[in-house]
Amino acid sequence: MSRLRYFAQRTLMTALLIFLVASALFVFFRLMPGNYTSLLIQQGMSAEQVARLETQWGLNEPLYIQYFNYITNLLTANAGDSFRHGSPVWELVKPRIINSAILVFPAITATYIVGGLIGALIGRYRGGLFEKSSIIGVSVFHSIPDFFLGILLISAFSSTLGIFPTSGMLSTQTSIMIQDDPFWHRFLLKEFWMHYALPFLTIMLYFMQYPALIMRNSVVEVSDQEFLHYHRLKGLPRFTLLRKLMRHASLPVITLYPISLATSISGLVLIEIVFNWPGIGRMLVDSVLARDFPVIQFVFLVAAVWVILGNFLVDLLYGVIDPRVSVGGDGGE
């Protein structure tokens, strides 16, 4: 099977998966006890208002029509309107996604780069204080729950030392000041970066264990591989050998990177709460508390798609890096 076919296959599977998840969510939410409107009644809406809403939202239609509407709506990026705010869900969620992304992507990327380097060093220079302290260090940070780690950092650097602000992405005054400016203006403000520092650091310390330890094990394992020995016997210079070692050793780490990106969304919820960061994690919690179904449903979908795309990225990466996976010939004896 050629590379092209491999990628095509994976793309197809991904699209299929997203479709299945969206459908599953549809079923899932329909199955939940109570329906959309019972809560509204609880909150004091009159029966006619409810009935009007039901017609408006098509809740009286047969299920398969609802499903059809659902899918077509999604495909046109129409996720309905928020119960709580009345505005379109997509408009509400979009900036949140961006806020989370600007936190998560750089943080996880930095984690993997730094963690990978540490891991490589440990793997190369085994034994001794450096290895021990590094392993203990990353493991300790990972054993502390991420939100608690965040709280610790806040208490150390914000309350006690007063270096960093305690929460939010920007102070309230600043938010109001720049609310008409283009979104990216905030990155120019020092204030933004001060707010950014602690949640970034929390993520980094917390997730450092994965790349560090995996890289370490990988380096140790690959060093023993016969093909490296063979390269050496062929007379390749030391530096070339090191480069090859790193290329092979970083494979597991590279493949874990998109997965970490994808799954970090769960850890993100707590961190965002602790730091009051206006991201998608916090939005999820807020909307669950407020029973804002359209938002909840959509955020679930976003989270699922985030994870699926992360895995898809891994598939693509692996197809590029490791020919054994994508180019035919595997299987057999």
Partner: protein
């Protein structure tokens, strides 16, 4: 005979283990490989033969070192070469290597052509195209389809991978090729083909060959000279026919008869008791003594010196009782004349 291309002169090789103790993998090894010779080094696991192979190309692990004696290649001592010197003077251009497991030795993320280009880049000033062209020729020589030079190793079967490895070994036209158990991982028919092929190549290209193996049959069939090792020491060395007809070291005698011979399936196999000793210290005795049916106190009084067998300086046995062995081991040495090879009746 021509001058030796590779000489081992009283070589000691040690490994340092984590705990600080040393393992004396090779002790006082001496033998010589002549130019264009096909030399077989045979012994069981742990005898030090692979260590010797590695040492020649400087492929010992970080914790291993040649601690005594000299390894001479074309007259020059090379045992103390640095990595750089090995890279520049020895590896691949002069001495190339056929490793035991081709499947594990070929870098899985590199196309075969890329590996050839890499070899050319670091040792010669061949252009990429020239390197690829040469690989094509070599594929033809080893019987692989030329169209497949751009494939990845995993797309080849085991036998084909081994041929590719042979093609690589020939790539820079070395003077000596070391083959470390080149056929152990292969089926018997493929093994035969590969060995046959190696024979032809050796003759066509006028290369000297050092074959490391545990299978004495392969040595007897293909090699010109040989050495038998046990427990880090060379037990016996010499011309293959000489050693076969007149072995004088107890281990060599017993080892020959421990291999099933398909011509005489009913013949009793020789049993060698025990196992080689752990070599925590430099052995000051014959490492075979514990297992030897004919050992005496003298065997423990110092490592044995080589003695010429029947006055032949080329055939040496490291045994204090070498002269007596003809009588002592008469039972084992008797080649059954009356035995009828079962294969003679087949077409």
């Amino acid at each position: 005979m021509s001058d030796p291309i590779l000489e081992f002169d009283g070589v000691d090789i040690e490994y340092e283990t984590r705990g600080g103790t040393a393992v004396h993998a090779v002790n006082d090894a001496s033998f010589a490989i002549d130019e264009h010779d096909y030399f077989g080094l045979v012994g069981e696991s742990g005898c030090g033969k692979s260590t010797i192979a590695d040492a020649v190309v400087g492929g010992l692990d970080e914790n291993g070192a040649v601690t005594g004696g000299e390894i001479r290649y074309k007259g020059t001592p090379i045992q103390d070469y640095s990595e750089k010197e090995f890279n520049k003077n020895i590896r691949w251009t002069e001495i190339s290597f056929i490793p035991q497991s081709s499947m594990n030795s070929l870098d899985p993320v590199m196309k075969l052509s890329q590996q050839a280009i890499e070899m050319a880049k670091y040792h010669t000033d061949m252009s990429k195209d020239e390197a690829v062209e040469r690989l094509r020729e070599l594929f033809d020589v080893v019987g692989l389809s030329e169209s497949r030079i751009h494939d990845y190793p995993h797309q080849f079967s085991g036998g084909m991978q081994q041929r590719a490895i042979i093609a690589f070994a020939l790539f820079l036209q070395p003077s000596l090729i070391i083959a470390d158990e080149p056929t152990t991982a292969l089926d018997v028919i493929m093994q035969d083909q590969i060995l046959d092929h190696i024979n032809d190549l050796k003759d066509d290209w006028e290369i000297s060959m050092l074959m490391i193996t545990h299978d004495i049959s392969v040595v007897f069939e293909n090699c010109d000279s040989m050495a038998v090792m046990h427990g880090g020491q060379v037990a016996e060395a010499g011309d293959v026919v000489e050693l076969f007809d007149h072995p004088r070291h107890p281990y060599a005698i017993l080892l020959q008869n421990a291999f099933p011979d398909v011509r005489y399936p009913d013949r009793e196999l020789a049993i060698i008791d025990g196992h080689p000793p752990q070599l925590r210290e430099k052995p000051d005795f014959c490492t075979f003594a514990d297992r030897c049916p004919w050992s005496t106190q003298e065997c423990y009084d110092g490592a044995p010196d080589p003695r010429p067998v029947a006055g032949d300086e080329e055939h040496l046995a490291w045994c204090v009782r070498a002269d007596e062995m003809e009588e002592l081991a008469a039972d084992h040495l008797r080649k059954p004349e009356e035995e009828h090879s079962i294969l003679e009746e087949s077409q």
